[in-house]
C-alpha cells in the first residue's frame, strides 16, 4: 500500500479508530491489531511475501530467546551467526543473486573461461533491506546484552512488521522501538496533531517536490545522449531533490503515522542539503542507516581507532557496503566509494566532526563562508547522485562527459518550459520553508506555532491546495521501495 494513495487514506482512519476506540483498553490486543494492520498493509502489495517477514520474525524471536538463555560464548556466537546467515541469506538471494551470477560469468569470461550460469527471474520483496536490518539489530543487541530478549511474541512481531516504517524505514533499533510495545500507550493530543502535521509535510515533499522533479530527472537521464551539458546538470539537480523529497517525505509520513498511534520513531533526515561538509551530510542523510552501519559494522571493524590505514580501510568498507545495500549494481558501489573519497580528507585532517550544529543556528541568513561550503557540499552530492541514478557505469560516464562539454554554457531547453519553471519555483519555495524550519525535527514543525488558529489552518490548507494543484496525474511509487 502506498502512503500517497486513496487506499492508505481509507486504511489509516480505520486502523486509528479501531486502535483508540475499540481495543484501547488492552495492550496485547492493540499490538496484535498493529500486526494484522501491518500484514494487510504489506500484503496489499503482494501477500506471498508475508511468509518471508513471518519467517524472519519467528527465527529472530527464537534466536533472541536462545541467546538470552545461553551462557557459552561459542554457542552464543553460533546462534548469532545463524540469525545473520538466515536474514542475510534471504536478502542475498532476493537482491544479489543475479548480480553475483552475472559478475562471476563476466569474471570467468575475462580470463577466457566461458561458463554457463542462469540468472533467475526474481521479484525483490518490497522493504526486505529495511526489515532485515531492523530484525538483525535485535539479535545483535541481544547478543551484546544491550537488550533483554523479548518473551512477548506479538510485541516482537509488531516491532518487526510495524507498518509505518516496514517498507522504507526509518530502520528502528530494538532498544528504541521494542520497549514502546511493552508500555500502555495513551492518546496525546499534541503528539497526534504533530503527527498529522508531519504527514502533511511528508506528502508535500513526496507529491509536489519528488514526483514533479522525477518527471524532468527521468526525461533527462533517459535521453542523456541528446541533452546539452546545462540540461544534464539540471537533470542531476532535479534528481537530488527527487530523491530527497521522496525518501525524507516517506520518513516524515512514517514518523507522523507512528505518532498517531503513540510511537516515537527516530529522525531519519535532518536537512542534509544544508550541510557544510560531507561528514555533516552523512550525519543528516538517512540517519537510521548510517548509524546502523556505524554501530554494527564500522565500530566492530575498529572504527576510528588504529592507524591511518585502518581508518581509511574502514571508511571505504562502510561506504561501499552502504552503497551496495542500495542495490545490486556497480553504480551504487561507485556512489559509495565516491562518498568515501569525499569523506577521507575530513577524516585524515580530523575535521569530520566540525559542523555538529545546524548551520546558522538562531540566525536568519548564513554567512558567506557557510553558503559557499553548503554549495560545494551540495555540488559534490549532486555529482555522486549521477552514479546513483544512472543505469550503469557507462551511462554515468557518458552523462558526466556530457556535462563537461561546450554545451554546458548553453541555455537549457525543456519540452515543457512552463512546467519546468513552475517546478523550479516550487523547489525554491520548498528550500525556503526547509531553511526557515531547519531547527525543528521537520520543516513545518514550528511554523505557525504562535499564529492564530485561522492563519495556521490557512497555511496547512494552502499546502493541501498546492498538492492538489501541482501533483502529477500519475501515482508514482517511492524510490526506496526498490531497495
Amino acid at each position: 500500500m502506498l502512503f500517497n494513495s486513496i487506499d492508505f487514506a481509507i486504511f489509516l482512519p480505520i486502523v486509528f479508530i479501531l486502535y483508540w476506540f475499540v481495543i484501547n483498553k488492552n495492550l496485547k490486543l492493540q499490538n496484535a491489531m498493529l500486526v494484522v494492520a501491518s500484514y494487510v498493509f504489506y500484503g496489499w502489495w503482494d501477500w506471498r511475501f508475508l511468509s518471508l517477514i513471518t519467517f524472519s520474525i519467528v527465527v529472530d524471536y527464537f534466536m533472541g530467546l536462545l541467546l538470552g538463555k545461553e551462557e557459552n560464548k561459542k554457542k552464543r556466537k553460533l546462534l548469532l551467526w545463524v540469525s545473520i546467515f538466515v536474514n542475510l541469506g534471504f536478502l542475498g538471494f532476493f537482491k544479489y543473486y543475479n548480480f553475483f551470477v552475472d559478475n562471476f560469468v563476466a569474471a570467468f569470461s575475462f580470463f577466457g573461461q566461458d561458463i554457463k550460469a542462469n540468472t533467475l527471474n526474481i521479484i525483490l520483496p518490497v522493504g526486505i533491506s529495511f526489515y532485515t536490518f531492523q530484525t538483525l539489530s535485535y539479535t545483535i543487541d541481544v547478543y551484546r546484552r544491550k537488550i533483554e530478549p523479548t518473551k512477548d511474541f506479538i510485541a516482537f512481531a509488531a516491532f518487526v512488521s510495524f507498518f509505518p516504517q516496514l517498507v522504507a524505514g526509518p530502520i528502528e533499533r530494538a532498544t528504541n522501538l521494542l520497549p514502546q510495545f511493552y508500555k500502555k500507550r495513551f492518546f496525546n493530543y499534541s503528539k497526534a496533531v504533530d503527527g498529522m502535521r508531519q504527514i502533511l509535510w511528508g506528502l508535500f515533499k513526496k507529491i509536489i517536490i519528488a514526483d514533479n522533479c522525477a518527471e524532468f530527472a527521468n526525461q533527462i537521464f533517459n535521453n542523456s545522449a541528446n541533452m546539452s551539458g546545462s540540461m544534464l546538470v539540471l537533470g542531476a539537480v532535479f534528481f537530488a531533490f527527487q530523491i530527497y523529497g521522496d525518501f525524507s517525505g516517506y520518513s516524515d509520513i512514517a514518523i507522523g503515522t507512528a505518532r498517531l498511534f503513540g510511537f516515537n520513531l527516530m529522525q531519519n533526515f535532518n536537512f542534509p542539503y544544508f550541510s557544510r561538509d560531507i561528514a555533516e551530510f552523512w550525519r543528516r542523510w538517512h540517519i537510521s542507516l548510517s548509524t546502523w552501519f556505524r554501530d554494527y559494522l564500522y565500530i566492530p571493524l575498529g572504527g576510528s581507532r588504529g592507524g591511518t590505514l585502518m581508518k581509511v580501510r574502514n571508511t571505504f568498507i562502510i561506504f561501499i557496503v552502504s552503497g551496495f545495500w542500495h542495490g545490486a549494481n556497480w553504480t551504487f558501489i561507485i556512489w559509495g566509494a565516491l562518498n568515501a573519497i569525499y569523506f577521507l580528507p575530513l577524516l585524515l585532517t580530523k575535521t569530520n566532526r566540525t559542523n555538529l550544529e545546524i548551520v546558522a543556528k538562531g540566525k536568519i541568513f548564513p554567512s558567506l563562508k557557510e553558503t559557499l561550503f553548503m554549495l560545494i557540499t551540495f555540488g559534490l552530492t549532486v555529482f555522486a547522485w549521477i552514479f546513483f541514478r544512472a543505469e550503469n557505469i557507462e551511462h554515468a560516464i557518458s552523462y558526466i562527459s556530457g556535462i563537461f562539454s561546450s554545451s554546458f554554457f548553453t541555455i537549457p531547453k525543456f519540452e515543457e518550459t512552463a512546467r519546468a519553471i513552475t517546478t523550479m519555483i516550487l523547489v525554491v519555495i520548498f528550500i525556503l520553508i526547509e531553511w526557515s524550519g531547519r531547527e525543528g525535527q521537520y520543516a513545518i514543525e514550528h511554523i505557525g506555532e504562535k499564529w492564530y488558529r485561522p492563519l495556521r489552518w490557512i497555511f496547512y490548507a494552502t499546502i493541501i491546495f498546492l498538492i492538489g494543484m501541482f501533483m502529477p496525474t500519475s501515482e508514482s511509487p517511492f524510490i526506496y521501495f526498490q531497495f
Binding site: Y189, R419, W457, I458, G468, M469
Partner: protein, 306 residues
C-alpha cells in the same frame, strides 16, 4: 481524543471550503501554465461543444455513432444522409467506455437510434479516461453522472476540473459560446462529423505494444452492451481502419478481436478493406476524406446487406 476528532473534522471542513474557493480563483485568474491540474476548455479541440449543443435538439436518429476521434473523424453524416439515414456522431477525443456511458445516459433516449455503431479501438480500453472526461466536463452540463465518472477515473485533474466547472455553472459564469464551424484544418459538419482538410500520411515504424484491458473500462463497456440489449437497440462494433503500422503495433490484436466478438456483431475493417496508408490517411490514426468515403460506403453496404 474528542478534541482531536472534532478539530480534525473541522479542519477537513475548513480545508475543503478553502480548496474550492482558492481553486476557483486560481482557475479564473491564473494562466494555464500555473494550473496544470485544471483543464477547463470550452470549445476546445474536436468541436465537442458544437456536437453537444447540436445533439440536444437533434431529434431521433436511425444510426448513432459512438467512440473516439476515429468516430467523429471517420463517420461522415452527410454520406449516410445521401443514402437516406439520419445519423448522429457522438464521438469525442480519446473517448473511453466510461465517457460513452455518460453520454448515453444523457442522450440515448433523446436520439432513440435503431442501430448503434460503436467504434472500438484497443487504446480506449487501456486509457485512464482523463482526457475525454475533461472534454465532457467542459463542454456539457454537469450532473450526477459527471461526479460518478470522476470517482471512477479517480484522477486529481478530473476532480479539480469538475469542481471548477460545477462552480462556474452554479454561478452562471459560462456565457453561451458560438463555436466557429471551421477551426484551423477542421470543419464541423452538422450531425457531429468533423472533416479534416485533405492531407496525406507519411507512414513510419511504430513501437510494438500489447493491448491491455483496464477492468473498469471493460466493466463500463459490458454495461453499455447490456443497456442496448435491454432497450432492444441493435449494436454493431467496429474497429475502424487505421494505418498499417499503427494497426500492426499491437502484438495481441487477435485477442482483441476475440474479446469484441464475444459482445456483439463485430467488424474489423482493418482486415476487411484495403486502404493505402499514404493516400487514405492524414496522420497515424485518422482517415482523410478519401478514406472516409471508402470506409463509409463499405459500412452502408454491410448495413444494407443485413
Amino acid at each position: 481524543m474528542k478534541r482531536f476528532i472534532l478539530n480534525t473534522v473541522l479542519f477537513l471542513l475548513f480545508a475543503s471550503i478553502f480548496y474550492i474557493v482558492v481553486l476557483n480563483l486560481w482557475g479564473y485568474y491564473l494562466p494555464q501554465s500555473l494550473k496544470p491540474n485544471i483543464n477547463y476548455r470550452i470549445g476546445s479541440y474536436g468541436h465537442m461543444y458544437s456536437r453537444l449543443s447540436e445533439v440536444k435538439n437533434y431529434g431521433e436518429v436511425d444510426i448513432l455513432f459512438l467512440g473516439s476521434s476515429h468516430t467523429y473523424r471517420g463517420f461522415d453524416t452527410r454520406i449516410f444522409a445521401e443514402k437516406g439515414y439520419k445519423t448522429f456522431n457522438l464521438g469525442s477525443s480519446s473517448q473511453t467506455p466510461i465517457q460513452t456511458k455518460v453520454l448515453l445516459h444523457r442522450y440515448l433516449d433523446r436520439l432513440n437510434p435503431k442501430l448503434v455503431i460503436f467504434e472500438v479501438y484497443p487504446e480506449a480500453f487501456s486509457l485512464d479516461g482523463v482526457e475525454a472526461s475533461l472534454d465532457i466536463i467542459a463542454n456539457d452540463k454537469n450532473d450526477f453522472q459527471s461526479i460518478k465518472m470522476a470517482f471512477i477515473i479517480n484522477n486529481v485533474k478530473t476532480y479539480n476540473t469538475l469542481i471548477y466547472g460545477l462552480t462556474r455553472e452554479l454561478l452562471g459564469l459560462n456565457s453561451p459560446l458560438i463555436e466557429d464551424t471551421i477551426k484551423r484544418a477542421d470543419k464541423y459538419v452538422s450531425g457531429g462529423f468533423v472533416e479534416r482538410e485533405m492531407g496525406f500520411y507519411q507512414p513510419e515504424k511504430i513501437e510494438e505494444k500489447e493491448i491491455v484491458f483496464q477492468d473498469y473500462q471493460l466493466k463500463a463497456f459490458s454495461e453499455i452492451v447490456e443497456k442496448f440489449e435491454e432497450k432492444g437497440i441493435e449494436l454493431i462494433l467496429v474497429y475502424a481502419p487505421i494505418p498499417r503500422p499503427t494497426y500492426e503495433r499491437y502484438t495481441n490484436a487477435k485477442y482483441f478481436d476475440s474479446v469484441m466478438q464475444g459482445y456483439a456483431t463485430y467488424y474489423n475493417f482493418n482486415e476487411m478493406i484495403s486502404l493505402n496508408d499514404s493516400l487514405h490517411f492524414y496522420d497515424s490514426h485518422h482517415l482523410n476524406q478519401n478514406g472516409v468515403e471508402i470506409f463509409n460506403e463499405k459500412i452502408i453496404e454491410l448495413i444494407e446487406s443485413r
